[in-house]
Every structure is written in structure tokens, then in C-alpha cells.
């Protein structure tokens, strides 16, 4: 197992490097000049050139890239071109909000998926099953930019239970987490249901029943645990979608997270900040996937990681 994790950690670095390199290349290829945005269009060419030189933007891309990597190796992501702050500082202010939202959405998705998925499998072809199918279809069909305002109208305006937008106490988290987690909940519900229905006919389940275990114990302890592997895989993969989806959800709910910071950075061609934001998202994603691998082992101790 140790070898496996070492192996995964070694893969971690090239994956990160790939993500950062891709973003570095893309952000420099698309039109837009940060120097002109900083100095305004009335600035003289000499002033623009001076600033370009000061920021190192006159250097060949390869040299800028190496310079960026050298900084990265020392944990220095550079300074934002507009915000007069270190990129690391800006990200550290916004990342907690995004992680809070993404983890809450993950929690919502898992809770909904397990309740509905187990109920649907246990009552196969009943109205509960059909309701869960309807939920899954709706969850996948409704885009965040439509679902978010819809939830706001119902729970904030008509019922007056929750705030419309912004970040504050737990009440502020409910609607954005529900919006962001809905699609994932829809996928996981189907996964939990089908996983349970596959395992429930296995021999060991029949044995468990023959031993006189209660149905509750059979379903939750034996069947569910064995159907979890595929669900955990999807959770790990879908967490990336949550981080990406948070960009839209954060805009809808005025949530001051990394997603909105990324958009603002892209719009102003704030190269160091874009790179930093993408790096933060990539690291979060890779860490969750690493944790997923670890969870496999917890769920199914038979799994061996040695080659």
C-alpha cells in the first residue's frame, strides 16, 4: 500500500504540472493585454513597454514559464497584476469559501443519494423508485443557473425561510449547496440504487439472511458496503465537477469564492492570479482523488495495491 501511495504521489506532480502548463499556454494565447488594462489605453507606448519589462512580460514565453515554475517550486505564486497582493494571499482568502460550498454540496449530494437510492432499491418498481427516478432526471436536466433562482424564489421570496444570496451563517449555505449538489445527487442516486440491486442477489446476502440477520442489517451493513466502491469512484471524479460548477453557482449566489476570483482574473488577464486559481483547484481535485483511493481500502480491505 505504501508503494501505491508513493506511486500516486509521484503521479500527482506531473498531473499538476500538466494542468498549470496548459493554463499558462492558454491564457497567453488568447487575446488581451494585461499591461494595457493596467495603464489604460491612453498610456504611451514607452510606458507600456517599461511596465511590460518590469513585469517580465517582454521575455519569451518559455522564459516566463521557467520563471513561473521556479517561483512555484519555492511556493511563490507571484503577485496579482491588479490587486497589489500576493496571489497566495488572495487564494487563501477565497479558497475556504469554495471548499465550504463544495463540501456542503458534496454532503447534500451524498445524503440525498443514499436516502433516495436505498429507498428506491428496497422498494424497486414502487412509487418511491419512480420518484427517485424522476428526481434523478430532474437533477440532471436542471442547469444551475435555472435551479438557483428557482430555489431562491420558493425558499427565500415566497416562504421567506432563507437568505437569497451572499455568504454568512449556515442558512446562507443551504440554497447554493443544494443547487451545486443536485446534479451529483442525481447521478449518485442511480449509482446507489443499481449497486444495491446488483449486490442484493449475491450469495453472501442470501447467507446473511439465512443467518437470521434483520433486513436493515442486510441492506445497510452487507449490501450497501459492497456496492460502495463504484459510488466512491464517482464521488471522487464528480468532486472536480463540483469545483468547476462552483464557478457558476458562486456567481448566482454572490458567493465570494475561488470561482468568481478566477473569472475576474481571466477577464482582466491577470496571468499570475489565473495560474494560481487553477493550481488551487487542481490541487483540491487531486487531493480528493487521492483520498478516494484511500477510501477504497477502508471500504474493502481485500483490495491490495501492490502490483
Amino acid at each position: 500500500m505504501r508503494r501505491f501511495f508513493l506511486h500516486r504521489l509521484l503521479l500527482f506532480l506531473p498531473t499538476l504540472l500538466g494542468a498549470v502548463t496548459l493554463v499558462f499556454a492558454l491564457i497567453h494565447v488568447v487575446p488581451g493585454d494585461p499591461v494595457e488594462a493596467m495603464l489604460g489605453e491612453t498610456a504611451s507606448n514607452a510606458d507600456k513597454e517599461t511596465l511590460r519589462r518590469e513585469l517580465g512580460l517582454d521575455q519569451p514565453l518559455s522564459r516566463q514559464y521557467l520563471h513561473f515554475l521556479a517561483g512555484l517550486a519555492q511556493g511563490d505564486l507571484g503577485r496579482s497584476l491588479y490587486r497589489q497582493s500576493a496571489v497566495m494571499e488572495l487564494i487563501s482568502k477565497r479558497l475556504p469559501a469554495t471548499l465550504e460550498l463544495s463540501l456542503a454540496a458534496l454532503g447534500v449530494a451524498i445524503a440525498l443519494a443514499f436516502v433516495l437510492g436505498i429507498a428506491a432499491a428496497a422498494r424497486r418498481d414502487s412509487w418511491v423508485d419512480r420518484l427517485s427516478l424522476l428526481f434523478s432526471m430532474l437533477g440532471l436536466a436542471m442547469p444551475n443557473f435555472w435551479l438557483g433562482p428557482l430555489l431562491m424564489i420558493v425558499f427565500s421570496i415566497e416562504l421567506g425561510w432563507l437568505p437569497v444570496s451572499g455568504r454568512g451563517g449556515p442558512a446562507h449555505l443551504v440554497l447554493p449547496a443544494l443547487t451545486l449538489g443536485m446534479a451529483m445527487a442525481a447521478i449518485l442516486t442511480r449509482m446507489v440504487r443499481s449497486g444495491l440491486l446488483e449486490t442484493i442477489h449475491e450469495d453472501y446476502i442470501r447467507t446473511a439472511r439465512a443467518k437470521g440477520l434483520s433486513e436493515r442489517s442486510v441492506w445497510l451493513k452487507h449490501a450497501l458496503r459492497n456496492s460502495l466502491l463504484s459510488v466512491i469512484t464517482v464521488i471522487g471524479l464528480q468532486f472536480g465537477s463540483l469545483l468547476a460548477g462552483s464557478i457558476i453557482t458562486e456567481s448566482i449566489f454572490s458567493w465570494p469564492g475561488l470561482g468568481r476570483l478566477t473569472i475576474e482574473a481571466i477577464q482582466t488577464r491577470d496571468y499570475p492570479l489565473v495560474q494560481g486559481c487553477v493550481l488551487a483547484i487542481a490541487v483540491s481535485y487531486l487531493l480528493v482523488n487521492l483520498m478516494t483511493d484511500f477510501l477504497y481500502r477502508l471500504v474493502d480491505p481485500r483490495i491490495r495495491y501492490e502490483r
Binding site: V30, P31, T42, F145, R260
Partner: protein, 486 residues
């Protein structure tokens, strides 16, 4: 505390760096300037007692006594000189340095007197007096500085969370008398629907302009909002690449102008919140010229002009176009719908318009590089008509200015140079009138509309005045009345 919703937050509040509209508007509440445009965009003295031209390149400005910064320090000529010097110094990185290029030096003549020396005659000089004044020694190059800005305006900065909110509190010792509000919170809510819902919920007191046109009738019928609409000066236009082989023909540009049904777009997509424009300057501007060639919707005339230009329709009313053009715009919903309407309207005269939408940074980058055939943008907050120099003088072709369509007209160049040198207002008005007539004939831009300003406020918010450029200057007079009982 008054809460105002904004679509986007300010990027910098230091007046030496605040250039985007939101930053400039909020910064102007924290900082005073020597002069400020009034509701009719005429410059009025603010910190300046008087200004006087000694000759066409020397101005004496006397600063009012009694103004003070939020920390109690009196505001003097030394602060004014420091502010301008800190913008003009070569390493300032201020985006306003380019616009002050004509300024040779600011000389301190006494505690309340300054001399502005220009490198040459420059009639729009007075607009440069709108720069917010910072205290002597105020640094600008550190992030924490943005959180501790000290100005002399009616409000002081209490909290600034970039991308989230700006909280201002009333300056009780404001030299013109304190505001009747305890303070103002600007809350950033990027989504248009959510801004309207927050207003409906009662958590927002006022929204100015940051509303989709569709939302205004909804707010009128679903809330008790007081809604005011007034003519504005935000100018929407279609920019044209004049180096394009088809678009460089004037008949084609005229045909495009005749083929666009502005009235229909304004009625259906903008819900009446705009009026068809004749040019960049709106009717409320002192230099506005109304008697210019105008092109109402006449598709038959458009077809005739295209035929005359040699672009006959190959199959009459059939599907084949006369030619194809591309139109670039941003991926904002309303912009995309306007683009689709234009595509449909131009197809009626046989022009195939390919709509290309981009995120803002890419779109604007392309426009600045001249990488377009047609695009649409707007000009906000035009104070001095010298902006025409920047937009249409042949020396202003990027990277030296904003003549993005590469327009070249020697007559316009001469008139713009004369107007820039001439400081007599009547003569400037005459010259700019002529310029407006020539541009309306030549059509380097196709004027679309001037957006109306809309303010949606709770009924108890009183005293708010709509400025044509969407300025928040009237907030210092705003107060919250007792809510009427039903």
C-alpha cells in the same frame, strides 16, 4: 445604512487608479476633486475656489479653504500638487498618466494656490481637474493601502472586500455638511435576476442601471419600488473595421445603418429603456449637434445602396446573401439577443451576419487589436468632446488611441486639432458640431442608442438624483424617510 446592489465591484478605489465606471463612482464618494461634472455634465468647482487661464497653456487654480481629510488634516494645495505629481511620475503605473500627458507641471504657489502648466494649448484641460485628491504622502503601491484610503469626501471607507462589498460610513465632519445617511453599503451581486430578487426580499434599497430591461416591469408589478427613468448619455454603437474591403465603402455602411431597425430592438429587447442615437454626444451635452444626417429604418433604401455599391443580391429574395460579415460581441445574454436581432434584420437586405460571442477579455482584446469586421460596445461618461480626437483622429489608431476602426479623414483631423487648441466654448461647440455632422455622414460608427438611466429604489429612499452618466454624486443628499403606513 443604505444598501446598493452592483453588478461588479470596484477594482481600485484610489482615485489615481480608479478607471472603470464602478470604481470611479465609488471613489468619487470618498475623494473630492478640484472640479466635478454636474447633472448636465458641465464642470463645476468642488475643491477649487476658482480657476483662471493666464494664457492658453497656464492656469491658476485656487483651492477652497476649510476642506479637510477624514483624519482631520486640512486639505491644501500641497495635497493637490502631490496627487498630480504622483500620477505624472514615470513609475506611477497610474492608468490616468496617459490622459495627463499634456500637463507639464503643477507648481505650488501658496497654501491654497497652484499653477498648472501645459505643454501646449489644450482646451479639454479642465476635465483633468476631476482627479480625486489624496493626502500628501499617500502611497499607492501596497494592497493594504486600498483598505485604509483617506479622502475628503462625504463618506469614508469602512470596509472593502474586493468582489464582495464596499462599506462607506458618513463623514460627520464633511466640509459641505454631513450626509443624512449613516453610511452606504455597495453589495456585489453579479446575477441580474438575483439583484431583482434581493430587492424584492427587501435586502437591497437601491439599484441604478444594473438591471436587465426585462426586470423593470417585473419589479414595477411585484414590489412597491419607486422607479425613475431619465435620459442618459451611455452611447451604444456598432464599430466598423474601415480597412475591410466591403466595409470601407460608405454606401455599405449607410446601408447597414438603414437596415437596422433600432426602434424594434429598443421596444422589444430594451423595453423602451433607450432612445435612438444620432451620435456619441447625447442631447443634454453642451456640444451636442442635433442637425446631422439620420438614418431611420428603411430596408428598401439599404438594398438600393447595396445594389449601387455593386453588391447585388445574387438570387433576389432567395437564400443566397450579397455578402457575409462577422459581428463580435460579448457573451452577456442581452448582447447575444441584440446580435440575433441584428442578424435577422440584416438578412432582410441580403447580408449574412455571422455572430461571434466571446468572454469579455477575449472580445475586448480582439477589438483593440483591430481583429474584427463589426463589433458593438458602448461609451460611458463622456464629459469633454475631445474624446472624438481619441476615437477618430488618424493619429489615434491603436496603440496610440482608440481609433479602432482605422478611420482616416484629413478634414476631421484638422477640425479635431483646432477644437483641441481652442478654449472658447462657442467656437469649440461650432467645431464639434461640424465634426458630428461629418461623422454622421461618413459613419465610422453606426450609432445605435443612448441608454436611459433607471433607478429602482424603496419608496423611503429620498433625494437620489439620476446623473446622465450614472454617477452616485447625489448620495450625499439622500436620506431615508419614514416608511408610509398602509
Amino acid at each position: 445604512m443604505l444598501v446598493i446592489a452592483l453588478e461588479s465591484g470596484p477594482t481600485r478605489l484610489d482615485p489615481r487608479y480608479a478607471t472603470d465606471a464602478t470604481s470611479a463612482r465609488i471613489s468619487a464618494l470618498i475623494f473630492n476633486s478640484l472640479a466635478r461634472p454636474d447633472e448636465n455634465l458641465r464642470l463645476q468647482p468642488e475643491l477649487a475656489q476658482t480657476w483662471q487661464a493666464l494664457d492658453d497653456r497656464t492656469y491658476i487654480v485656487r483651492v477652497k479653504q476649510g476642506a479637510a481629510f477624514h483624519d482631520g488634516r486640512p486639505l491644501t494645495a500641497a495635497d493637490v500638487k502631490y496627487t498630480y505629481d504622483s500620477v505624472l511620475k514615470p513609475d506611477s503605473r497610474s492608468p490616468k498618466r496617459g490622459a495627463l500627458r499634456f500637463l507639464e507641471a503643477v507648481d505650488w504657489l501658496g497654501p491654497y494656490e497652484l499653477r498648472f502648466r501645459l505643454s501646449g494649448p489644450f482646451a479639454p484641460f479642465l476635465e483633468s481637474l476631476t482627479l480625486g485628491i489624496v493626502p500628501e504622502g499617500a502611497r499607492s503601491d501596497d494592497a493594504s493601502g486600498e483598505q485604509r484610503l483617506i479622502g475628503s469626501g462625504p463618506f469614508s471607507l469602512a470596509e472593502y472586500l474586493p468582489g464582495e462589498k464596499v462599506v462607506l460610513k458618513s463623514n460627520p465632519a464633511y466640509w459641505e455638511g454631513p450626509s443624512r445617511l449613516a453610511g452606504v453599503t455597495f453589495k456585489v451581486i453579479p446575477d441580474a435576476v438575483v439583484r431583482a430578487l434581493e430587492f424584492k426580499k427587501g435586502t437591497i434599497d437601491l439599484i441604478q442601471n444594473d438591471l436587465e430591461p426585462d426586470m423593470v416591469p417585473w419589479l414595477r408589478s411585484h414590489t412597491d419600488a419607486a422607479i425613475e427613468i431619465r435620459e442618459g448619455d451611455i452611447f451604444q454603437y456598432v464599430g466598423i473595421n474601415l480597412e475591410h474591403p466591403i466595409l470601407k465603402r460608405r454606401e455599405v455602411r449607410e446601408a447597414l445603418a438603414y437596415a437596422i431597425d433600432r426602434g424594434a430592438i429598443i421596444r422589444h429587447l430594451l423595453k423602451g429603456l433607450a432612445i435612438p442615437a444620432t451620435g456619441l454626444l447625447a442631447p443634454g451635452h453642451w456640444a451636442y449637434e442635433g442637425s446631422v444626417p439620420q438614418r431611420a429604418y428603411r430596408p428598401d433604401e439599404a438594398k438600393r445602396l447595396l445594389d449601387r455599391a455593386g453588391f447585388a443580391d445574387p438570387d433576389g429574395e432567395g437564400p443566397l446573401p450579397r455578402f457575409k460579415l462577422s459581428y463580435k460581441t460579448t457573451n452577456i445574454d442581452l448582447r447575444k439577443r441584440i446580435a440575433e436581432a441584428l442578424k435577422e434584420q440584416l438578412s432582410r437586405v441580403g447580408i449574412d451576419l455571422e455572430v461571434r460571442t466571446y468572454e469579455w477579455g477575449t472580445f475586448y482584446g480582439d477589438v483593440k487589436q483591430g481583429n474584427f469586421q463589426l463589433y458593438s460596445l458602448e461609451w460611458v461618461g463622456v464629459v469633454d468632446p475631445d474624446i472624438y480626437y481619441n476615437l477618430f483622429h488618424s493619429s489615434s489608431i491603436p496603440p496610440n488611441g482608440n481609433n479602432r476602426g482605422r478611420y482616416r479623414n484629413t478634414e476631421i483631423d484638422k477640425l479635431l486639432e483646432q477644437a483641441r487648441r481652442n478654449s472658447a466654448l462657442d467656437e469649440r461647440k461650432r467645431l464639434y458640431g461640424k465634426i458630428q455632422q461629418l461623422l454622421a455622414t461618413d459613419l465610422p460608427y453606426i450609432p445605435m442608442w443612448w441608454k436611459k438611466n433607471v433607478v429602482v429604489r424603496k419608496p423611503e429612499v429620498r433625494g437620489f438624483a439620476l446623473y446622465p452618466d450614472g454617477d452616485f454624486g447625489s448620495l450625499k443628499q439622500v436620506f431615508l424617510a419614514d416608511r408610509p403606513t398602509p
